[in-house]
Symmetry: C2
Subunit: 231 residues, 2 copies
Amino acid sequence: MDIVERLTQFGLTRHEAAIYLTLLAEGDLNGYEVAKTTGISRSNAYTSLASLVEKGGAYVIEEATIRYTPVAIAEFCQNKIRKLQQAKQDLIATIPAKRDAVEGYITIKGENNILNKLRNMILEARERVYISVPAQILETVLGDIESAINRDIKMVIITNGSFTLAGATIHIADQPLQQIRLIADSTNVLTGDVSNGEHSTCLYSRKRNLVDLFKDSMKNEIKLIEMTKGN
Amino acid sequence: MDIVERLTQFGLTRHEAAIYLTLLAEGDLNGYEVAKTTGISRSNAYTSLASLVEKGGAYVIEEATIRYTPVAIAEFCQNKIRKLQQAKQDLIATIPAKRDAVEGYITIKGENNILNKLRNMILEARERVYISVPAQILETVLGDIESAINRDIKMVIITNGSFTLAGATIHIADQPLQQIRLIADSTNVLTGDVSNGEHSTCLYSRKRNLVDLFKDSMKNEIKLIEMTKGN
DNA sequence: GTGTAGACTTACTAAGTAGGAACACTAAAT
DNA sequence: ATTTAGTGTTCCTACTTAGTAAGTCTACAC
């Protein structure tokens, strides 16, 4: 992902991000110099500098002419994160907790949201997790799997390619896996695939019958893998 | 702060935030019901619902008519925070560290940015912190001060009102304090006031002469407080 | 007058907001 | 049975604001 795009996630516009990077690279500059080195028109350079200061991305150095100095990247990012963490706590405190009904069949759309749900299911698991995902996806949630294992969660992983992880039971499938499947605590299940990027969809459910169905299905998958391995 | 406004910090529009809150309050709804209860026009309700799903704030329930269910607030917020933390790490890894020159006199604008700088100075202190702030501001950075004390940072606090804190040296001033002043590690200093909200300005500097000046000034302030107490 | 420094003006685009209209389908009232 | 009211969804128009792009105007210094 582009550096500028990453910075926009912290609330900067593309101009502000470009200016911020220029300040880091070139040292402390004034508006005119910023415009010259970034190629942003002077008028926009001045307004963007002002709003960059307002957003806490740069400080003002008062000299003969006003110069700007970038705030350290870790500091700038952490300020935003801290603010969101505070906002999260405030929201949790003010918003009535959602009664966790046994929902029906829920569709989760978009690769990002699916991976987030995958992560959160692993993070919230109390006893055991059965997960069957392509190696590539396993990589992205590895940290969460490890932390679950450290919490003494029983972890059974089905994936393709070679993979080992202390504390987890691993089954390696021959064919490349297409699907994502996860069962946590025998109570909630996630299935689908993320091959369509942001158009991917997954099914999430806490319905007993579906969960049982998937438990059997994964048991069979594991049996099959072990049998073909035996040959 | 308004709940809707807090949610917008997590990337939702006002419409999306209102819809999200309605879903939490009313349970799972379809587009028509959302429009009816929120008062948002039907056309916008549908588009906002779609983008709320895209942003991971709600899931789709497929039944006779499509219904929407809100994602738990903690989960939604944490997804965003996790993403930003990852982005922060990526940025730190890709961006060349700013050489920490002895900058001149830096002006920090806006109450939020000033308080952030205050926090970060406390967080980054290695040895000692002298801080002189009104009780009200002391409250907001109390957590950071406590964690600094736990890191064995020497902490000297001048404030008004009554205040005690284990591990810190406290001096109570009679008159209400107007100014913010902080010296960390005898190397960097922050001074100004935040009484003008977002139009407040503070001076930050690592200049030796200014730091020394402030050290003396705060020493005198402490002496004066102790002497008047003696009377 | 040429480079530096900053402010003002205009224009285009995209996103968010606000509201009307078309269309289809269902249940109740006449 | 036909009309009417309500439900559910999509499409279209319009206004506002923010971000972007670019030109003009003043002022000063060397």
